[in-house]
Symmetry: C2
Subunit: 429 residues, 2 copies
């Protein structure tokens, strides 16, 4: 087909790469079927007179690569499969398709529906890469704050941030929760984060919590000189979220925790461009595993939680760390963080690896991610033998030592809470 | 743990069932960990005085069932695995957890975030059943039209509806598309549906299309006495969808096609309760395969496209038929349709199995689904040897014959277009 080789303006395509399992001899036709079928529908049946008008909406096959243990394959050509693969006739392959940016309408729904709408239902197929390209990226503002904006807001110029997670929220009244907030704030947390499953509209509404906790945060600031931000769970009917977000900002929220996958990327994107949303948007990864969890279906985690979240304007992305029980393999986590920071017209996003984080892991975290990250902890703050204040303080000692290049064991000599944390949880080595 | 056996008001729980792979001896603790961890966070650490207040938010383990070939297992107890399974120590099991309805806030995001938020990232785990319960269902209005409302609107009391899909939309101007609409309408289609990937905001906006096609539909009504509805793709920024939906209704849309998975369930739910959205909501399954495609991860298709779409208020759900290239196994398709129709406070939803539908399949469709369904076809209308009008007309002849209990071959004796369709595509037997 001649379409694939037409020259086009660089950057005006979104290139999606799919991993599929199919008969090798069917790959070329399948790729063409995607490029044409998911854009202009059919090509050969178009009257000649209409072809030029339609051509600019047609997708292009950018590459077909057979993933073969015997021969890793190369872009743009197909190779024969290994013994095993040719036996069944099936090979695993990657197909790259370029979609014209003007097929979309500036919504993430239009991108997802085009690049992995019908195709998501086509048997064993996974969207493994999504190169958004600068033309499309420039249609979105991306993160309003990003790393620098968050640092400026919290007056923390360079070290990793410490975020503490409520041990539990449901069924606890505002006074009780305020005590819990105060403990975490006094210990030294920069941010204190709601449970993502906290949806109370009666005994402790988001408005009541923000009001009470920002009063508590002011107390702590007077005591210690430190600012503590409360990341409140932004909840409620979809069409009321923007109003509530503005209201929570006015009441003193430090950040808005948002279940972006459950609500939809475009809702996040509209919150991000709202000038009255004056605090960072913190994405919780709830439900994302339903998209990225399988190795053979769905969408890769660095797209789900990485490039698409940044495009939509997340300032902070929480993701499962490779250390805890809810985990992402280390290589996947690093790819995800790569997407949050890659060269792009958009500000970089602050990554917050979560689950299973204890003070002894801080040097490893910083060595993996650098200092632009959030150390996000729950169990190892609340479960500290000395209590919550010691738990948070042990983390902050670990962060300070790591940034200064001091070993944790050396730092622990002068810091009892850190010593007890290292004794309880070790250093992960 | 004593919590699991507390008596509660019936129907005030949502019961989620997960398929997991784990060590058999870990299942009980894992189930308890879910029930408590995804609700009140921790139980044993709560001061006794606070337990009663928190108890009513705590989840309950409803059953653990080992799926074992040698012994299918039973709810509420664990069985030993087969040779193979015990060798690795891993078994496949189903864990059922009941979540109190008052943990949610009337949004589908709150349900999804609770029942499969963090849990979706917990390795090999799939949400396979979701019993919403009547208490929760009554917090939603469900479909505004449902099967009866759609039949009333289109004046089609009992037979299956015929829906025709544009062969292609992108890059075609309104005049050209109007010609294509007219052909499909003249052939006898009850509904004509946009491509879900059509997002034009310039050369053929939704408003322009609805205006032109409803004029065309009036022509066809004058010629034939038949009503034809245009299912226009509802697109644009999330916060503008409701306004556009109302406008498109005013301009004469027959239905609103909506990429509900790409946009989010709660946006659909708000459209459904909007009194100015006066036409049926037709859900397109785009992106849904990214959630349901894997056998071991994600969420079952009868939840993604079935019970949750009905809860959110879809009137019509398009889903991949078991006949075409983009397919769902027949048993899964039937389970999905079961969810669209099951006994519930909500109106039943009209199923529209799609992909690979040709006239010879109509008796099979009706035998599987009954007459309350939409026969949704593209290729076998546009690819008919006699052209689009014959293509649609062959389908309608097949529908009429099937409803009257006449065999297609008998009907084809007096219907040239049906005869040629049967000759080209057969009867799928
Ligand atoms: Mg939590
Ligand atoms: Mg189509």
């Amino acid at each position: 087909m001649q379409i694939a080789n037409e020259p086009r303006e660089k950057g005006s395509y979104v290139v999606a790469t799919y991993r599929v399992r199919d008969m090798q001899e069917k790959l070329a036709a399948r790729a063409e079927g995607i490029a044409v079928g998911l854009t202009v529908g059919s090509w050969t049946d178009l009257p000649q007179a209409k072809q030029p008008a339609v051509l600019e909406y047609c997708g292009q096959v950018r590459g077909i690569r057979v993933l073969d243990e015997a021969d890793p394959g190369a872009l743009g050509e197909t190779h024969s499969g290994s013994q095993d693969q040719t036996h069944s006739g099936l090979v695993t392959a990657e197909i790259s398709i370029a979609y014209p940016v003007h097929n979309f309408n500036g919504t993430i729904a239009s991108i997802l529906t085009t690049v992995f709408g019908k195709l998501s239902m086509d048997g064993e197929i996974r969207l493994v890469r999504l190169d958004l390209g600068e033309t499309l990226q420039r249609q979105f503002q991306g993160p309003k704050f990003g790393v620098t904006g968050i640092r400026d807001m919290l007056h923390i110029p360079d070290r990793p941030l410490l975020m503490s997670i409520f041990k539990a929220c449901l069924g606890r009244n505002v006074d009780d929760l305020t005590d819990a907030f105060l403990e975490q704030a006094r210990g030294g947390a920069d941010l204190v984060k709601d449970d993502e499953i906290f949806f109370s509209e009666d005994y402790a509404t988001p408005e009541q919590r923000v009001t009470a906790f920002s009063r508590a945060a002011r107390e702590v600031e007077i005591e210690t000189g430190r600012k503590v931000g409360y990341a409140v769970n932004l909840t409620g009917p979809a069409s009321k979220l923007a109003d509530r977000a503005r209201r929570l900002c006015d009441l003193g929220a430090g950040a808005l925790l948002f279940n972006a996958v459950a609500y939809g990327y475009d809702i996040l994107a509209e919150l991000a461009v709202d000038p009255d949303v004056t605090v960072p948007l913190m994405v919780h990864p709830a439900v994302s595993g339903a998209l990225y969890g399988s190795a053979t279906h769905g969408i890769a985690s660095d797209i789900v939680l990485g490039s698409l979240m940044r495009l939509a304007g997340a300032d902070i992305v929480i993701y499962p760390s490779p250390y805890g029980s809810v985990t992402l393999p280390r290589s996947e986590g690093l790819r995800l963080v790569g997407a949050l920071r890659a060269d792009s017209p958009h500000k970089p996003v602050l990554p917050a690896p979560s689950a299973g984080i204890y003070p002894g892991l801080v040097p490893k975290l910083v060595s993996d991610l650098g200092t632009d990250c959030i150390v996000n902890a729950g169990g190892a703050i609340h479960g500290h033998p000395g209590g919550v204040v010691d738990g948070a303080s042990a983390f902050m000692a670990a962060i300070t030592a790591t940034v200064q290049g001091t070993s944790l064991h050396e730092a622990a000599e002068n810091h009892g809470p850190l010593a007890r944390a290292l004794q309880k949880w070790g250093t992960g080595q």
